[in-house]
């Protein structure tokens, strides 16, 4: 087998079939049916003096004879039968066995059609049986209150029982790169704690093998590994996945050598079926610990794994609980308060608290409301614009926003991470959470980006790095990542908010329907008044007049009373007419066209003056810029205002009325001024109400409908009306029309 490995392909290196074993033991593989030897490591000769090639194809019984294999319990064949029958060979391994008078641990494993027999010397660099101390160690480890103490304890206990120079807890991050999170070492060694290692240091297939073999020993990086030979030419290499002696990838050997490590031992930490990390033990001289010690270490690893799983879950669920609580509190606020902005941003608990963000912004109802540390409103508006285009789902999150949206580099200190959830896509309403630039630097064990090194002959060569001096990478524009829990809490809040928004929209819709109904009723009502009230009113008037005209026996007092009745019916008739007018304005559709105001005002002036016939008046019409409007309605407006001006100034001598229009910026403001009785400012807001008449207006004729109609028409034209007045001095009404 030849497979040239360098750093460009080491993640594809078939490390489970290296064709070699480490030389601290020897290997024999037998066909699982015939028990004939199919593979054998060449170094069997150095252990037993028997030539490897000569043994190929021989039956197990012959081997037993030649190597003088002796077991306390059973023959080799019986042991193999036992191993074959058991699913996992862990239950029988190791088997104490004598080979040529020396003690070995026999470890049997399965490999495709073969059974693999590995012989390790029982001699261990560890002077004692660690299984005796393991119970106490486990108790010590588990006394750790939180995750980091737990890990630190584990490193300490492992160091104590297997006595490697350095014991590290190495944790894999999501992207495969690792970090030393706990470390116990000899005092003379450089600390590795906190260093990050690139993912390529432990390639994917190696991580897979760590999940299968929970311990792995590399006894001596400098020992020559031993080839495995087979009698069949071109036969597939023996799969050493489950082997304990499996040779180490040359690139990994080089890696360890570069680091100065001569022996390594690792224990896998598995959480939720995935490789969580490793207990990595380094020794700076060759070191071999026997199968039993490794098995005991494995047990510690398994116990730690389950503790870890539990603690991590516990810590995670505590956090989730906290975020979930915040989400629930906010749901309560929304239920109680109809003002969303207030409910979401102004209470003790705000939307910010459903994540670990440092700031949040609510973009709702045309406003931006912020909590905590956020970009400026202008910057948020830019982000919103960007999100409107780029947010595909209801949730969007990134922990390196400025890398995606370069403008955000200006405020990466507050918004390197953003998480947003859409409330209404159409309206661009959303909530955005912000996380600050957080990981400012990662300290790598050596520069992870530069595996290319120059060799002595000047050629560039890929090789594992030689320098493990810490190398600091400045990581900018990056925040802490958004966790699953945060997104879960955000989704819950979104659900509640959207439900509430829909509920509110429904309420508004129902109110609108009721209002429409009320309007319709009012129309019917107005019609009723006009037709059904008018007829009897006419009768009253008619009979009164008839009585006056035809009954000669009436005395003066009776005639006066009938006069009063007639005046009352006249008044009532006028009121009914005005109400009809008012309701007609409400229902009428306006038809706008340019209006010649000079002409219109001139006609109104003539009409009003002839109707009221004032004795002494100065009536001035100033500039009359044209406006857009419904000429019938506009006529009504100015007729009313001018009529009022003339009427209420009729007691001044002379009475002065002026009408003019001024073009100002984007509007035309018409004013109607008089020097009449004026309006008490206390009534300011009631002037335009239906049937409201001021105290000082009572001596003048009127119904209190005119200005209400005026206001309705002005509103229909999307114009504004207001007035200035001083009691006894006069009034000016202004109407501002927008120039379209």
């Amino acid at each position: 087998m030849s497979y040239q490995v360098d750093l460009t392909n080491c993640d594809r290196e078939p490390i489970h079939i290296p064709g070699k074993i480490q030389s601290h033991g020897f290997l024999i593989a037998v066909n699982s049916k015939s028990y004939n030897i199919s593979y054998i490591s060449q170094n069997i000769e150095s252990y037993t003096g028997v030539n490897a090639t000569g043994l190929l194809g021989k039956n197990i019984t012959e081997l037993e004879e030649q190597l003088a294999i002796a077991s306390d319990t059973a023959s080799l064949q019986q042991l193999l039968n036992l191993a074959k029958g058991s699913k996992s060979s862990d239950t029988i391994n190791p088997l104490a066995i004598d080979v040529k008078g020396s003690n070995y641990n026999l470890i049997i494993s399965h490999s495709a059609n073969d059974l693999v027999l590995e012989f390790e010397p029982t001699k261990s660099d560890l002077g004692y049986d660690i299984q005796k101390t393991i119970g106490r160690s486990v108790a010590e480890i588990l006394s750790g209150k939180n995750l980091s103490i737990l890990l630190q304890n584990a490193a300490f206990e492992i160091k104590k029982i297997i006595n490697y120079d350095r014991v590290m807890i190495y944790k894999f991050n999501e992207d495969g790169h690792g970090e030393v999170t706990a470390e116990v070492k000899n005092d003379d060694l450089e600390p590795f704690l906190g260093l990050h290692y690139p993912a390529s240091d432990i390639p994917k297939q190696a991580r897979e093998l760590y999940k299968i073999n929970l311990t792995r020993i590399i006894a001596d990086v400098n020992s020559e590994s031993s080839a495995i030979i087979t009698y069949e030419e071109g036969a597939a290499p023996l799969d050493l996945t489950h082997s304990v002696l499996r040779a180490v990838s040359p690139i990994h050997i080089q890696y360890l050598k570069n680091m100065g490590v001569e022996s390594s031992f690792s224990i896998s930490l598995i959480a939720h079926g995935e490789l969580w990390g490793l207990i990595a033990c380094h020794n700076y001289s060759p070191r071999f610990i026997d199968y039993k010690s490794r098995d005991a270490s494995k047990l510690i690893g398994q116990i730690l794994s389950s503790a870890l799983e539990y603690r991590q879950d516990e810590e995670d669920s505590a956090k989730l609980h906290e975020l979930g609580e915040a989400a629930n509190t906010i749901a309560d606020y929304i239920k109680k308060d109809t003002d969303f902005t207030f409910a979401l941003t102004r209470n003790k608990v705000t939307i910010k608290d459903v994540t670990t963000a440092t700031g949040a912004a609510l973009i709702y109802d045309g406003e931006i409301n912020t909590i905590g540390q956020t970009p400026t409103e202008g910057q948020i508006a830019d982000i919103v614009e960007w999100l409107k285009v780029n947010m595909v789902d209801t949730i969007y999150n990134t922990y390196r926003f400025p890398e995606i949206f370069p403008a955000a580099k200006d405020y990466s200190d507050v918004a390197s991470g953003i998480l947003s959830c859409s409330l209404s896509r159409e309206l661009g309403e959303m909530i955005i959470w912000f996380k600050p630039e957080q990981v400012k630097s990662i300290t790598w064990a050596g520069n992870p980006e530069k595996p290319v090194e120059e060799t002595a002959d000047g050629l560039l060569q890929l090789s594992p790095r030689k320098s493990f001096d810490s190398w600091t990478q400045i990581v900018k524009n990056t925040s802490e990542k958004w966790k699953h829990d945060e997104i879960t809490a955000v989704l819950k809040v979104r659900e509640d908010v959207i439900y509430a928004i829909n509920r509110k929209a429904n309420e508004i819709r129902i109110l609108n329907e009721r209002l429409q109904l009320a309007y319709d009723e009012l129309d019917t009502f107005s019609y009723t008044i006009s037709h059904d009230l008018r007829t009897p009113l006419s009768s009253i008037k008619n009979y009164s007049e008839l009585l006056l005209a035809s009954n000669k026996s009436l005395d003066e007092q009776a005639k006066k009373m009938l006069d009063r009745i007639i005046k009352g019916t006249d008044k009532m008739h006028m009121l009914i007419k005005e109400i009809l007018h008012y309701s007609r304005v409400g229902r009428a559709e306006i038809e706008t066209a340019p209006i010649d105001m000079g002409l219109l005002l001139g006609e109104i002036k003539r009409e009003v003056l002839s109707a009221l016939n004032p004795e002494n008046i100065e009536f001035i019409i100033g500039e009359t810029p044209s406006i857009q409007g419904d000429s019938v309605m506009i006529t009504q407006v100015f007729t009313n205002l001018i009529n009022n001006a003339v009427k209420y100034s009729s007691k001044s001598t002379p009475s002065k009325v002026k009408v003019e229009g001024i073009v100002r910026n984007s509007e035309i403001v018409y004013s109607v001024s008089d020097n009449g009785v004026g309006i008490d400012v206390n009534y300011y807001n009631r002037v335009f109400e239906l049937f409201k008449r001021m105290d000082n207006a009572l001596e003048f004729e009127g119904t209190g409908v005119g200005l209400a109609i005026v206001k309705r028409i002005v509103e229909k034209h999307k114009a504004r009306i207001w007035f200035e007045s001083k009691l006894g001095f006069g009034t000016v009404f202004y109407i501002s029309f927008k120039i379209s």
Binding site: H531, S538, K541, E545, L546, A549
Partner: protein, 139 residues
């Protein structure tokens, strides 16, 4: 059988009563017959036609039970004997649509009911002057 001078079809009892007074005030001795629904009015007119007599003026309200004022004027115009008899509408409505329709159906004039007895007297007086003194030839 003789015909009244004026046939007035009006379901509002009060207005009819007032009208009678107004007519008397304008010209004492003028006869007015009041009928309060369209059907009876048509029946009455047919009987008068058979007797070859007819009123000098027919006044109609617009909204009448049985047969509406518009239908009634149409039926009147179908009777050749009454083809040129003046028919004048007398209604509370000032809706231009009603005015137009009535003239199209064959009415000679459309008047909005005036407010008050005194105005009504003025109104009836001008009607009298127009149809009874100046345009005698139509009858």
């Amino acid at each position: 059988m003789s015909s009244p001078d004026i046939l007035y079809v009006e379901d509002d009892e009060d207005f009819a009563f007032i009208m009678q007074h107004a007519v008397q005030e304008v010209k004492d001795g003028l006869t007015v017959k009041i009928i309060d629904n369209g059907k009876d009015a048509l029946e009455q007119l047919k009987q008068l036609t058979e007797a070859r007599v007819k009123p000098k003026l027919i006044l109609l309200d617009l909204n009448l039970p049985g047969l509406s004022g518009l239908d009634l004027v149409k039926r009147i115009r179908e009777i050749p004997f009454l083809k040129y008899t003046p028919v004048v509408f007398f209604s509370t409505s000032d809706n231009p649509k009603d005015v137009k329709a009535s003239l199209e159906f064959g009415a000679n004039a459309y008047l909005t009911k005036p407010a008050g007895y005194l105005n009504l007297v003025n109104c009836v007086e001008s009607l009298y002057n127009f149809w009874f003194t100046k345009n005698l030839n139509v009858n």
